[in-house]
């Protein structure tokens, strides 16, 4: 199966990718070398790597990482050199005098590290403060609510909701307000911004600022139970005009059925068990338990990253999502074999 989750695919395919790749601030010589060594690993796929940042917050942390990486490398090299020196040149089996090079130990083990650590701590404080900056009060805001095991996404002022997919305007600092409906979760988009936990009973805020358009995979990073593994989401950073258009659609009724099959599908949806839990704007389906499905046809995946969003997987999901994502809140559905294709057609038409 293949979910379009990387920065290369999706709606902003347009030239964003090569430019972005070339702008990548630092080469990864060490990692590249390691990739070369581990043939098995091969570094396949296109990981949502914190070392390939596309957002202001993640870029800052990536720079901090490289500073820490080189210092660590120096420290490790120093220790290894001393260790190897001892192993090669200090063999023997005679008891020796108890010389006490206290000054060496104090300087190499405490003095020098102290100076380095204080400096690094200063850099760390600077970055901590930079990540903690509050966005403007009038910055665009996304309200994200964690559920077991999906993300509800709303925009103040827009009546609609979506799930597991967050659209933001590129180049703008977007405020993200985080709440959880049940247990702790953690909101994390490695290429855009470090984590912020969702704390039961409280509201947390973070922000996202994508420096280049693209699709960025995010995932829950705080263990939240059976399906913690399948609680991913996608951040779509797009030009302001695209974002505005998308938000306008989120505020409007869902797309009306255009074919007979879609109409039958809508009827099955509204009159069947679906509507008890799911909403589709502008129809009688106003369930609030599961994700709003008003634009489900356009989403990047089903079940918060569990399977790709295509007709086959959608049918499987409807009939028995427990085989796809065991433990999720949706029970197997008593949909007749005749109604299922219509239902699939209708849901896939909702974009």
């Amino acid at each position: 199966m293949s979910l379009s989750v990387d920065t290369t695919a999706g709606m902003t395919r347009s030239a964003a990718r090569p430019a972005g790749r070339r702008r990548q601030p630092r080469p990864l010589p060490v990692l590249t070398a390691l990739c070369g060594l581990a043939l098995l690993a091969g570094c396949g796929g296109d990981p949502p790597s914190a070392l390939n940042p596309a957002g202001t917050g993640a870029a800052r942390v990536a720079n901090l990482w490289w500073l820490l990486f080189w210092i660590s490398l120096a420290v490790v090299a120093e220790v290894m050199a001393l260790l190897i020196w001892a192993l090669v040149f200090r063999r023997g089996n005679v008891r020796v005098r108890h010389g006490q090079p206290i000054r060496f130990v104090a300087i190499a083990g405490a003095g020098l590290p102290f100076v380095i650590l204080v400096a690094v701590y200063g850099v760390g404080l600077r970055d901590l403060a930079a990540l903690a900056v509050d966005p403007d009060p009038d910055a665009p805001t996304v309200e994200v609510t964690g559920h077991k095991w999906w993300w509800e996404v709303r925009y103040p002022g827009a009546s609609g909701a979506t799930a597991n997919e967050i659209h933001i305007p590129v180049g703008e600092r977007v405020k993200v307000r985080l709440r959880t409906d049940d247990v702790l979760h953690s909101f994390w988009v490695p290429q855009l911004m470090p984590k912020t936990d969702l704390i039961a009973g409280e509201t947390r805020e973070t922000w996202l600022r994508a420096e280049r358009a693209g699709r960025y995979r995010g995932q829950c990073a705080e263990y939240c139970g059976t399906q913690h593994a399948h609680m991913a989401f996608l951040v779509v950073a797009e030009p302001r005009t695209d974002f505005d258009a998308w938000l306008t659609r989120l505020n409007a009724p869902a797309r009306q059925p255009r074919t007979e099959a879609e109409r039958r599908g809508q009827q099955a949806f509204v009159q069947g068990t679906c509507a008890a839990c799911h909403a589709v704007r502008g129809t009688g389906a106003q369930g609030q338990v599961g994700p709003d499905l008003s634009n489900v046809g356009s989403r990047w995946s089903l079940g918060a990253g569990a399977v790709p969003n295509d007709a086959g997987h959608l049918g499987g999901w409807i009939v028995n999502s427990q085989t796809v994502k065991p433990g999720n809140a949706m029970p197997p559905q008593p949909v007749s074999a005749a109604a299922l294709p219509d239902l699939i057609t209708y849901l896939r038409s909702l974009d």
């Binding site: 942390v61 200090r90 020796v96 083990g109 912020t196 409280e202 593994a229």
Partner: protein
């Protein structure tokens, strides 16, 4: 040796009397009633080893599941129980008990005493550990094992989100186990402060003993927070209190604060005795004392104190105030200094010594390499901004396995090979040991080094599976292969131990030419440890002729003490002789008390409260009988009148 020839300075009559007073009957009853710290220590080592195997097999199952994306070997529910039991067992049922096993066996020997200060409490601690471990593992075949991660965050641990017995097993199991850990810690502290051989002033105490005592103090101050947490969790789940229920005014972060007030010191509780083992092993294989004894002692004490001020670095993503983060970030940064100091003290020791490359030294070298790699990433985690990016990813899994395998398992393995001749009286097979070392070392790094990478590449931890497109599959396969190599290496360690016990050639009292007192007696030691309690004149008593003479020509009756089952009580700082103190005989009371507690906790688990009440009465009665003032001939440990 002493069984065949009389040591100088001690008459045959004295030896016969010592044997009469200290030997325990070889009967079945004797097996259950022993209070000998050496037998108890061995049991700790073996039992913790068994739990290590179980937790390791859990890890292998997980690694197999994660070898490729979307694998179906384990269901999510099975995986979640396995990773929880893996972490919980490794931390609580393996690491600390294993190191306490070393402590139990070695502390009295290293300080020149005949037993722990409270031998019956010692036996009790072991039985509780055994029962608590069985209590927790027994839940797994029933599919009722803890499934909330070893740190069991609220509110996922609540009855609402996690019905069934899973988290009741966790809360009760850890409360039960905490009794054992606390008892052992008190015992270590009193033993090290009151039973040291005459002349072993604090500045002559072996570094391993310092490490164990500092660890014991940390346990005593850290564990109450965990116990409180688990008590509140159990009350929330079973009796509808609302400590962690935000809808009723509770607070979910309260769990995290209390857990990590315990949990961070616990990292050092695990690593510190490991560092102590390194300091104990090095002199024998560098042919000199460890450089900077006072610096290392200061480091140990500094770590023990600072470790209580860093817990919030486990909560850097929870959105607490920046000011608080800047403080805890500073404390977490600074705590690396005492560890770095020790590393350079050991390096200086090696650079100024003459290295004898044997298996224990190999594991010490493996320790330094691994622990330093874990240390540098640890410093990274002290910086809040970086921590927020990599916490709860495989990067942190890599980090703490480097710290814990590097800082605890490698030293333990060094310790196993180092003290095996002392404990079993048999030498291990050097070639087998070297194979084991290289497989363990390679397996460890092949397993855990790639985790740094796929953590940075965005893979969160605690996922039972992962999608294929992020491209984590290849690296995961490398880790899985590494884990099998690691397992093979550990199997060879086990083979080596069994081989030594079965076929090993007899070990002399001091095969390494080492410096501490356990090497001044037979391998394995007699039940009374030392025919003559030594008078200590230096930090390296076995390398010191005057100390050796004190057990030979210079032996005096006040240090032979063959008139009864007694050891010497000495002063806390300078180890001046105070008086001989009688030690208790073997008894079944510790076993009865531990068994009654097991019934109590099991009854609480399955909600048979009347049974729990009866068990509580039995517990109280056993304690009363145990502590009942006895006649002068039966007086027990140090503090009892």
């Amino acid at each position: 040796m002493a069984t065949t020839s009389t040591p100088p300075g001690v008459s045959r009559v004295d030896l016969a009397r010592l044997t009469e007073h200290w030997a325990e009957s070889p009967s079945l009853r004797g097996w259950f009633s022993t209070v000998d710290h050496k037998r108890i220590g061995r049991r700790y080592l073996v039992t913790a080893g068994v739990f290590f195997v179980l937790a390791g097999l859990s890890a292998l199952a997980m690694r197999t599941q994660l070898a490729r994306p979307e694998a179906g070997l384990l269901s999510p529910e099975e995986y979640n129980q396995l990773f929880t039991m893996h972490g919980t067992a490794m931390i609580f049922l393996f690491a600390t008990p294993m190191l306490f096993g070393f402590g139990n066996y070695l502390v009295p020997l290293m300080i020149g005493a005949r037993d722990m200060a409270f031998p019956r409490l010692n036996a009790f601690g072991y039985w509780v550990f055994l029962f608590a471990g069985l209590f927790m593992w027994a839940s797994l075949p029933f599919g009722a094992a803890p499934n909330n991660g070893w740190f069991a965050y609220a509110p996922l641990s609540s009855e609402q989100h996690n019905p069934g017995l899973h988290m009741d097993v966790y809360a009760l199991g850890l409360l039960f186990l905490g009794i054992s850990t606390t008892a052992a810690s008190i015992n270590f502290i009193v033993t090290a402060l009151k039973l040291r051989a005459p002349g072993m002033s604090l500045n002559r105490v072996p570094l391993f003993v310092w490490a164990i005592v500092a660890t014991a103090f940390m346990v005593i101050f850290a564990l109450p927070a965990l116990n409180l947490d688990n008590a509140m969790l159990f009350l929330d789940r079973r009796f509808d209190t609302h400590f962690f229920d935000p809808s009723a005014g509770g607070n979910v972060l309260l769990w995290q604060h209390l857990f990590w007030i315990f949990g961070h010191p616990d990292v050092y509780i695990i690593v510190m005795p490991g560092l102590g083992i390194v300091s104990a092993v090095l002199p024998a294989f560098t042919r000199r004392g460890v450089v900077g004894y006072p610096l290392i002692v200061l480091s140990i004490v500094a770590i023990a104190i600072i470790s209580f001020g860093v817990w919030v670095h486990h909560m850097f993503a929870t959105g607490l105030p920046q000011l608080s983060y800047s403080f805890f970030s500073a404390a977490s940064t600074i705590i690396t200094i005492p560890s770095g100091l020790q590393i350079f003290a050991w390096l200086a020791t090696m650079l100024l010594g003459r290295l004898v490359i044997r298996v224990p030294l190999l594991f010490v070298v493996g320790f330094i390499v691994t622990f330093v790699l874990g240390g540098v990433t640890g410093t990274m985690f002290a910086l809040t901004a970086f921590d927020q990016q990599v916490t709860d990813t495989y990067f942190v899994v890599a980090h703490f396995h480097y710290v814990l395998i590097g800082g605890a398992v490698f030293p333990m393995l060094a310790g196993i090979y180092y003290w095996l001749p002392k404990i079993t009286g048999r030498m291990y097979h050097e070639g087998l040991g070297r194979w084991a070392f290289w497989l363990v070392f390679a397996g460890m790094h092949v397993t855990f080094f790639p985790m740094h990478l796929y953590g940075l590449f965005g893979m969160p931890r605690r996922v039972y599976t992962y999608a294929s497109e992020p491209g984590w599959g290849g690296w995961n396969l490398v880790s899985t292969i590494g884990s099998y190599v690691l397992a093979l290496g550990l199997l060879l360690v086990l083979v080596g131990v069994v081989h030594a016990v079965r076929r090993g050639r007899p070990a002399p009292p001091d095969p390494w030419g080492a410096d501490t007192l356990e090497w001044a007696t037979t391998s394995p030691p007699e039940p009374y440890n030392f025919p003559v309690l030594p008078r200590v004149h230096s930090l390296h008593p076995v390398w010191d002729e005057r100390t050796a003479e004190s057990t030979g020509e210079g032996a005096t009756a006040d240090r032979i003490l063959s008139e009864g089952r007694v050891t010497l009580l000495t002063s806390e700082l300078d180890a001046r002789v105070e008086r001989p103190v009688p030690m208790p005989e073997s008894t079944l009371k510790p076993l009865v008390l531990a068994a009654a507690l097991l019934v109590l906790f099991a009854a609480l688990l399955v909600a048979w409260y009347p049974v729990a009440a009866v068990a509580a009465v039995v517990v109280a009665a056993t304690i009363a009988v145990w502590l009942w003032p006895a006649g002068p001939s039966r007086t027990s440990g140090v503090a009892t009148p």
